[in-house]
Amino acid sequence: MAKHFRSIDEAGRDHVIRLLNLTDHMAEVNRRLHPKVPALRGRTVCNLFFEDSTRTRLSFDLAARRLSADTLTFTAASSSVNKGESLRDTVETLSAMGVDAFVVRHRSSGVPWQIEHWTDAAIVNAGDGWHAHPTQALLDAYTIMQRIGRSTDLDGLEVAIVGDIRHSRVARSTTEVLRLLGARVVHVAPATLLPPHPIAEQIGDLDEVIDRVDVLYMLRMQRERMDSALVPAGVEYVERFALTAERARRLRSDALLMHPGPMNRGVEMLVDPSEVPQSAILDQVTNGISARMAVLFDLLGSGTGLEDQ
């Protein structure tokens, strides 16, 4: 049984499939009138957010509460990290309070691995640096499967991920999970926003793929990338890589439009997704709760063993 959920590669295929099945279970709970079950009653989940991310934090928090876990939230902004307390002290202190799982977000890659030496609690990666965001990957995979009606694989599907791949933990994890399920992933970006060594097929021209892809996955483009000269200042990036109304019209009618949020309107998104019928962006948000419930339940609540008659 897995102790942690930190990256898709580390989890592996069987674990991912199990989590996708569990996500479906949790989605049923979330459709109920009273979407709450006692599965994790008495367990304590601590959100350890060294980097602010309100959406992800709220999503995890709600997921834990819907499973009846107690939740604690530690954010760097309001904490002793600013008073020089080390990562290690923070983790050891919170651990001593009796935490069963840490949900960790940090701007540095690898923190979910580093802290395993300082706690016995389960560790869920809620985003580390540019490295991994495996619950996002899980909810993305689930959303695609749900929308296209597949339950075990994504064989033959083509997904284009567009934007700042290099600095994106979402791109890395979602690429890993989609490939593991059999999809073909292409990365669409200028070379300066691609990793130094390709982690998927790379294409420099969005217009080359937009008419044919099954899923168009737009990444958030941070304006500071222009300040640091990774792309030219001004509108050039928008013209080459943003989703414009004209490009949105070229999407196949049965394609999906996805975005991990928060959107940067006017940068990578020049259309209102609510006017794009192919948009699955709000489904992603909804499924995020189910996926995170699945992960927490898998680590804290379920187990292998005897089938009681």
Partner: protein, 173 residues
Amino acid sequence: MVHRKQVLGPDDVRRAVTRMAHEVIERNRGVDTVVLLGMQRGGVWLAEQLGDEISRIAHEVPVGALDVSLYRDDIGLRPVVPGATSNVPVDVDSATVVLVDDVLFTGRTVRAALDAVADYGRPRSIQLAVLVDRGHRELPIRPDFIGKNLPTSLDESVEVSAEGVVIVEAAGS
């Protein structure tokens, strides 16, 4: 070496289901408010058969499924089964919910099911139908409709399907 002992054949199962269908109708003076919920997974096929029998005798009743893996007090002992989700097809408020399971044993699954049903609403009553009651209860739970009482030892396990009921005993135990 494993000993398998067939205690009911397919015809016995069919007869038992028919009898239970009659009892459900009789007990509830009709089935106007009855909804059958099969317990994932062993109770689901049985609820469907029971539903078919009831609709043949009286009229059609809603049949759903209930997964209790998120409610059990012995969580950690039972994996969540892929695809075995709850499906409650109607509003259970004021309904008569008949929980259907293949085997009644400790009663813990039923206890969890009572919690699970409560999350869908407030039924007028909840009843329990099981094909086999093998004893060894750990909670004060008693079935309303029983296909067959089957005294067993704790070493044995009971396998139930439409093809019959088999007691499996591990050798040497």
